[in-house]
C-alpha cells in the first residue's frame, strides 16, 4: 500500500515536472463550426485538429508540444468577441488563428490590437488587412482580388459589358462593392446590378432583368452558400447564353453537386487546391497542395474544401513564424510573421511585408472552369 502511494506520488511529481519543462505552445482558435457559416468553420476546425496532431507526432515546435484551444463562435460576431477575450485573458494563448467570417474577424480586431496578440484571420474581405493593422494577418485571397482576377479573364475574352447579381450577406455585399470599384480600371461596364435575399429560392426575375439589359456579354454572381447554386440553375433555365462567373466563395465540390449540369462552363477564381490533380509537376504548390488533400481526405473521408486550406495556411504560417523567431514571444512572432517571404502554402506563395499582411498576389489565384462535373484550370 505504502509503495503504491509513494509510486503514485512520484509519478505525479514527475508529471508536474515534465509539464513545467515543456509547457505546450497554445494555439487559440474561434471558428464558425456550427450555424450558417458551418461550411467554412467545419473544415477549418478539422484541419487545425489534424495538423496540430501531426506536428506533435513529429516532435512539436521548438521542442514543445502544441495545444489547440478552439471555440465555436457559430458565425456570431458577439460570440467571437467573447471567445477571443477568453483566449487572450484566461487561456493565455500564444497566437490566435481563426475568424471564419469577416464579421467575426472585425469584431475581434480591437481586442487583439489592444492585447498585442498575433492574429491570423481566415476570412475574405479586404477591410481586414486594409488599412494594415499591426497584429492582424490573413490567409485567403480578398474579394477585391477575386474581382480583379475575374475582370482580367473577361478582358481576355473581350467582354466589356456585364450584369452583376449579388446576395445580401456580408461577403456578397463587400465583393459587390469591390467589383464596382475596380471595374473601371479594367474598362468593364456594369450594365445591370441586381440583388437577392438570404433565403431566396428563385432568382429568375432578377436574371430576366439582366438578360434584357442591352448588350450584356457576361454575368457575374458575387455570393456564397445556396444563392449561387440557384442562380446557376436559373441562369441555365433562362438560356441566357453568355458566360457565367462565380466568386471563390463557391469553390468546393458541393457547388457542382448542388447546381448539377447547370454548372457546366461556370468560371471562377480559386486557389490551387481545387485542381490539385491536374497541376503540372513543375508547379511550386503541387506538393503542398496534394499532400494536404491526401491527408485530409484519408482522415475525414470527405472532400477537401478551400476553406480548410485557409486554416492550414494560418497554422503553418504561425508555426513558421515561431521557428523563425526561435521563441513564442508575441512581439517577436509578429515581427517574424511580417517578414515571411516565399512561403509555399495552400492559397498561394506568401510574401508578407509591413504593408501587406496577406502576402498574396494574383499569380497563384487561378481561373478555373467546370467541365464534365469537375474543376479544370484555364490557361
Amino acid at each position: 500500500m505504502r509503495y503504491k502511494l509513494l509510486a503514485s506520488l512520484a509519478a505525479a511529481l514527475f508529471a508536474a515536472g515534465a509539464a513545467i519543462a515543456q509547457e505546450p505552445i497554445k494555439i487559440g482558435a474561434f471558428l464558425s463550426v456550427t450555424g450558417g457559416a458551418a461550411f467554412l468553420g467545419d473544415p477549418e476546425q478539422k484541419t487545425l485538429e489534424l495538423y496540430v496532431e501531426k506536428l506533435n507526432a513529429a516532435g512539436g515546435v521548438l521542442g514543445r508540444k502544441l495545444q489547440l484551444i478552439s471555440y465555436d463562435s457559430a458565425g456570431d460576431a458577439e460570440k467571437a468577441r467573447t471567445f477571443a477575450k477568453r483566449l487572450i485573458e484566461q487561456d493565455k494563448v500564444d497566437v490566435i488563428v481563426g475568424g471564419s467570417t469577416t464579421g467575426e474577424t472585425m469584431a475581434v480586431v480591437p481586442l487583439v490590437e489592444a492585447a498585442g496578440m498575433p492574429f491570423i484571420s481566415l476570412a475574405g474581405a479586404v477591410v481586414i488587412v486594409e488599412p494594415v493593422k499591426k497584429w492582424v494577418f490573413k490567409t485567403p485571397h480578398t474579394d477585391r482580388m477575386a474581382c480583379e482576377r475575374i475582370f482580367l479573364d473577361m478582358r481576355n475574352r473581350r467582354i466589356e459589358r456585364i450584369g452583376l447579381i449579388s446576395g445580401a450577406g456580408g461577403f456578397d455585399k463587400s465583393m459587390r462593392a469591390q467589383c464596382l470599384q475596380v471595374a473601371p480600371t479594367y474598362r468593364i461596364q456594369i450594365v445591370a446590378d441586381e440583388a437577392y435575399g438570404g433565403g431566396d429560392t428563385d432568382m429568375t426575375a432578377q436574371l430576366t432583368k439582366i438578360k434584357n439589359a442591352p448588350g450584356v456579354q457576361a454575368v457575374l454572381n458575387a455570393g456564397f452558400g445556396q444563392g449561387p447554386a440557384i442562380v446557376t440553375k436559373n441562369f441555365r433555365q433562362l438560356a441566357i447564353g453568355v458566360p457565367l462567373y462565380q466568386s471563390h466563395g463557391v469553390a468546393s465540390k458541393e457547388f457542382i453537386k448542388l447546381a448539377g449540369d447547370a454548372a457546366e462552363g461556370v468560371r471562377l477564381p480559386a486557389a490551387a487546391l481545387l485542381v490539385a490533380e491536374t497541376l503540372p509537376d513543375s508547379d511550386r504548390q503541387k506538393k503542398v497542395v496534394s499532400d494536404y488533400k491526401r491527408e485530409y481526405e484519408a482522415r475525414f473521408k470527405s472532400d477537401v474544401s478551400t476553406f480548410g486550406g485557409h486554416a492550414w495556411d494560418g497554422l503553418m504560417l504561425s508555426v513558421e513564424a515561431m521557428k523563425k523567431a526561435r521563441s513564442t514571444d508575441k512581439a517577436k512572432v509578429r515581427d517574424a510573421l511580417e517578414s515571411i517571404r516565399d512561403f509555399i502554402g495552400i492559397d498561394g506563395v506568401f510574401n508578407m511585408t509591413p504593408r501587406d499582411h496577406m502576402g498574396l498576389d494574383l499569380t497563384y489565384f487561378r481561373m478555373i472552369e467546370v467541365k464534365k462535373g469537375n474543376w479544370v484550370p484555364i490557361q
Binding site: 456550427t34 450558417g36 458551418a38 461550411f39 467545419d42 445580401a168 441586381e194 440583388a195 437577392y196 435575399g197 433565403g199 431566396d200 429560392t201 428563385d202 429568375t204 426575375a205 432578377q206 430576366t208 432583368k209 434584357n212 452558400g225 445556396q226 447554386a229 440557384i230 440553375k233 441555365r236 433555365q237 433562362l238 438560356a239 458541393e254 453537386k257 448542388l258 447546381a259 448539377g260 449540369d261 447547370a262
Partner: protein, 291 residues
C-alpha cells in the same frame, strides 16, 4: 417586353403554388384549433430532407416520396400528441408558443439526424427548360403546379364529400356543437396536424429540385406561407390558394419591375397592409362579436 412579363408570371406561379400548399397547412390546423402552427415550415423541410436522404440511400424516388410524406405526417401526429394535446385547455397563445418551440426543436434535430449542408434532389422528369410564350419553365415547375392543383381538388372533395372531412369542417365552425353531434374533436385535431404535415412535406419535396433543401429551408417558406394564409384569409382553403399564388406573383413582379433587393420585404409589406385594411383577408370570414 411581354416575354419578360410571361417569365415573371411563370416564376411567380411556381413559387406561389408552394406558398399555397404551406398556407393550406396553416389553414387546416387553424380551423381545427385556432392555433397558428409555426412548425409548418419544418414539415416542408422534413419532406425535402427525408426524400433526399432516402434517395441517397438508394431508394427509388417513387418509394422515397411516400415514405418521406408518411414520416412527416408521423412527426405532425407526434407533435399534436406529445406537445399540443397535453396542453389542452391552455390559451391559443400558449399553444402557438409551443409550436414555435417545436419548430426550433425540429430544426435542431434535423441538423443531428441529417447534416447542415445544402442538398439537391434530382428533378422528377429532367431539367430541360420548356419554352412558353418567349419565357421558359422547368418541367419540375409543371410538377409543382399540377400536384398543387390535384391536391386542391382532392381537399375540396375530402371536405365536402367525406364524413370525416365534414366532421373537420363542422369542428372549424363550432367545436362545441360538433362535439354535441358526436364528432370526436380530439381526433379531428390530431388528424389536422397529420394532414397539414403531409401537405407541407409534399410542398418540400416538389420544390427541392428547384430551390435545394437544407435544415433551415422551412423558416422562410413557413413565413411566406403564413403571409399567404393571412392574405387569403386565415382558415379559408380557397383563400390560402389564392393568397399563395398572388404572393408569388407579387414577389416576382416586384423583383422584376421594382427592386430585387426588396423581394422578401414585399411579402411582409403585404401582411401589414392586409392586417391594417382587411383584417380578415381576401376570402376570410368576417369576424364580428355576437352579443
Amino acid at each position: 417586353m411581354s416575354a419578360q412579363l410571361a417569365q415573371y408570371l411563370l416564376s411567380g406561379l411556381t413559387v406561389g403554388a408552394i406558398y399555397a400548399l404551406v398556407a393550406l397547412g396553416f389553414a387546416i390546423i387553424y380551423n381545427a384549433s385556432h392555433v397558428i402552427n409555426f412548425a409548418q415550415g419544418e414539415f416542408v423541410m422534413i419532406g425535402g430532407m427525408a426524400t433526399v436522404a432516402l434517395a441517397n440511400a438508394g431508394l427509388p424516388l417513387l418509394l422515397a416520396v411516400p415514405v418521406a410524406v408518411l414520416a412527416a405526417a408521423a412527426v405532425g401526429l407526434a407533435l399534436e400528441k406529445f406537445a399540443v394535446e397535453p396542453a389542452r385547455g391552455a390559451s391559443v397563445v400558449t399553444l402557438i408558443i409551443i409550436t414555435i418551440g417545436a419548430s426550433i426543436l425540429l430544426r435542431g434535430l434535423a441538423t443531428l439526424v441529417w447534416d447542415k449542408n445544402l442538398h439537391a434532389l434530382k428533378p422528377f422528369s429532367g431539367d430541360k427548360p420548356i419554352e412558353l410564350a418567349g419565357a421558359t419553365i422547368l418541367p419540375q415547375s409543371l410538377w409543382v403546379l399540377g400536384v398543387t392543383l390535384a391536391i386542391v381538388l382532392l381537399l375540396g372533395w375530402f371536405f365536402s364529400r367525406t364524413l370525416i372531412g365534414k366532421a373537420m369542417l363542422a369542428t372549424s365552425h363550432n367545436p362545441l356543437a360538433a362535439q354535441l353531434c358526436g364528432v370526436n374533436v380530439r381526433f379531428v385535431l390530431l388528424l389536422s396536424f397529420g394532414l397539414s404535415a403531409a401537405l407541407g412535406a409534399i410542398a418540400g419535396i416538389l420544390i427541392a429540385p428547384i430551390t435545394l433543401t437544407s435544415w433551415d429551408v422551412g423558416v422562410m417558406l413557413g413565413l411566406k406561407g403564413f403571409a399567404a394564409a393571412i392574405l387569403g384569409g386565415l382558415g379559408s382553403g380557397a383563400g390560402a390558394v389564392l393568397g399563395g399564388l398572388l404572393l408569388g406573383i407579387a414577389e416576382s413582379l416586384g423583383a422584376g419591375y421594382l427592386s430585387s433587393a426588396y423581394k422578401d420585404a414585399i411579402a411582409f409589406v403585404i401582411i401589414l397592409a392586409v392586417l391594417f385594411f382587411l383584417p380578415s383577408g381576401l376570402l376570410g370570414k368576417k369576424s364580428a362579436e355576437r352579443v
